[in-house]
């Protein structure tokens, strides 16, 4: 295994993005909106494509605006279909994001003559390429650091409101907290985080990091602040572990298993998502064992 400066930057970017996603993810989890991350990351595709078509460049701003609008559109329209059309939550979300994703695939194919935008790139990201930068610290690191800082600041400022709106939206409303606006704000932040992360790490890492660290942290703590802290730790660990697996253990094992001995490193974003899953399932098994054999410990930590 050869560790270069680029590897360091890949891990740093991955970890910053993962932690940035984990913060809104915890509240999505508490609101029972876990699939919203998946939905938004599919639905922003037409927004990206229209942003490109309108501006004709790969300028990040029109893309960002288009994608955030598409994300908001998903939240609002699926809400309308759910209430006015009386379609169950999951199904109305599914109808909207599938349609938008299909539209996005077609728009991208139409736009392919003007701009190079590959749906694959949106899905898998190109973390390995994004960190190659002439500046001493790659732009992508600043970018994911900024979004992490923004999410942490918002979570700190609106902590009480977010918590109340998640656990008791009616009481929140009665005590003057606009829980509807809090939910919309959460959707916007999720969309923004998704879009910023897209360019660097691809949507799959975003979907994973929105939910898996939070879910793991829920096994470890019963307080929202505790869950938030643990989810940051899990996100950080998955990024480090994921990249290690991607460049060394993964290719070796996969090569041994399948007989392809000359494999290079695997997709870091994919491995980061997978290792977050590994961490989650390890803690799930551990929590079952604790429940079974050490019930006294369980009362304190789980």
């Amino acid at each position: 295994m050869i560790w270069t400066e680029l590897d360091t930057w890949i891990v740093v970017t991955g970890a910053l993005t993962a932690m940035a996603c984990a913060v809104p993810g915890v509240f999505l989890l508490l609101n029972k909106q876990s699939m919203l991350g998946d939905a938004i990351s599919h639905a922003v595709l037409p927004g990206l494509a229209i942003g490109f078509l309108v501006s004709g460049t790969r300028d990040p701003l029109p893309m960002l605006i288009g994608a955030v609008l598409a994300g908001l559109f998903t939240g609002v329209v699926s809400g309308v279909i759910e209430r006015r059309g009386r379609v169950e939550t999951g199904a109305s979300l599914g109808v909207v994001f599938c349609s938008l994703f299909a539209l996005g695939l077609i728009l991208i194919r139409i736009a392919a003559d003007h701009v190079d935008l590959d749906p694959g790139c949106v899905l898998y990201g190109a973390l390995e390429l994004a960190v190659i930068d002439s500046a001493p610290v790659p732009r992508i690191v600043w970018q994911s650091g900024a979004i992490l800082f923004l999410n942490l600041a918002l979570a700190a400022v609106f902590f009480k409101e977010l918590q109340l709106a998640a656990f008791d939206p009616r009481f929140a409303k009665a005590s003057g907290i606009p829980s509807g606006w809090i939910h919309q704000g959460l959707t916007i932040v999720t969309a923004l985080t998704t879009v910023v992360a897209f360019e660097s790490v691809g949507s799959i890492l975003v979907i994973a990091m929105l939910i898996v660290p939070g879910a793991t942290a829920m096994l470890l703590s019963r307080r929202v602040a505790g869950v938030l802290l643990w989810s940051l730790v899990v996100a950080l660990c998955s990024a480090v572990l994921g990249h290690l697996l991607a460049i060394s253990v993964g290719p070796a094992w996969l090569g041994w298993l399948t007989g392809h001995n000359d494999l290079g490193s695997l997709s870091s974003a994919g491995m980061m998502a997978a290792s977050a899953g590994g961490i989650f399932f390890t803690f799930l098994a551990a929590s079952r064992l604790v429940q079974r054999f050490l019930p006294s410990l369980q009362k304190r930590t789980l």
Partner: protein, 437 residues
Amino acid sequence: MMESFWRVLLLQDHNTRVVMAGACLFGAAAGLAGTFLLLRKRSLLGDTLGHATLPGITLAFLLAETFGISPRSFLWLALGATISGVAGMGAVLLIRKTSRLKDDAALAIVLSVFFGAGIAMLSAIQQLPGGQAAGLERLIYGNPASMTSSDAWFVLLASLLVAGVCGFLFKEFTLLCFDESYALTAGWPVRPLDALLMGLVVLVTIVGLQTVGILLVVALLVIPPAAARFWSDDLRAMALVAAGAGGLSSLVGVVASALLPGLPTGALIVLSAALFFGVSLLVGKKRGLIIRHLLEREAARRLRREHVLRAIFECAEDMQPVVTLEQVLAKRPWKKNELRSEISQLTDDGLLTTEPSGASFQLNGRGDSEARRLVRNHRLWEIYLLNHADVAPARVDRDADLIEHVLDQRLVDELEDLLDEKARERLVPGNPEKKLP
């Protein structure tokens, strides 16, 4: 353009026939299985399942050489997809059973983790010489044009199996969807039935890989059934509509992609399904927005008409039979214009006799018996609420207002029996249909 359209539509190429038949059958099977999935509130399970097949597909691809199988063989990749799809579903059930996490969290976790592992292995495939990864693209984005005759036969068999099982176990699946706990206590094998239904969904997902691809396979499980919901409340009809809509959208999508080369077929199929959903949302016969709006307006209109008639009757009861607009206006907080138009409507319908100026009016024979019926129901209800339902007297008038409009004759008769003679004499005007002295 026209020529190629007819070529496609008249199924002149063998390849078009295979692709159309395969896509249509898949659409119909997905609509059918998706109907039960929708009613079990598990629509997004299809999404997780679709994504969870990726690691199986990529691993099967990598292992193909070891077993001496062509890595492009659809059946071999489908085997891998089935195994990892079932594993994904098992993981969802495991999370749900062993932790406090909700369903949606379990779905999102399995989806992202499995897909992430799949992407990691896909990146290994992309390094293999000879650009072999291209063969997998068609399973991720869907490309029915790559379907061979044997693939189409597989789709045909699988779809017939799904349709057969759904038809044969229709009653059991219905019970499972609507009253699981009853089914359990009545001794039905709920767990095996549930597993069978999920097995059908896995089968549909595998079949759909080639048509619409991993990412959009959920669309055909969700959109046609959700659209069918607007057309019927009857499960049998809904399932048929969903199957038809699925098949038709696949057909339209395939035809469209034959005419617009270069656009992805899977996406076109999903867009036609989305179009059908949009139309159903608006004009659906049972729950469409337009029909619901019309019904709501009709109900509001009837309510207002009954209020006006009652108010006129009450004014006439207190004073002389000829009533002025101002007297009625004072009864309720209604708008003057609204009231005026309602009164002219009632006059046109022959319930009121109005002076030419429109300032005063009187209930005529038909109007009087209609108003008498309404007031009687209202007061019977008031008495019922006061004497038998323990409602605070101050609230009675409002409650009575809301419910009198839905009172039917049988309930009115029942109330008459319930209430004692004295109350009836005192508060209730005589029944216009019975000749009372």
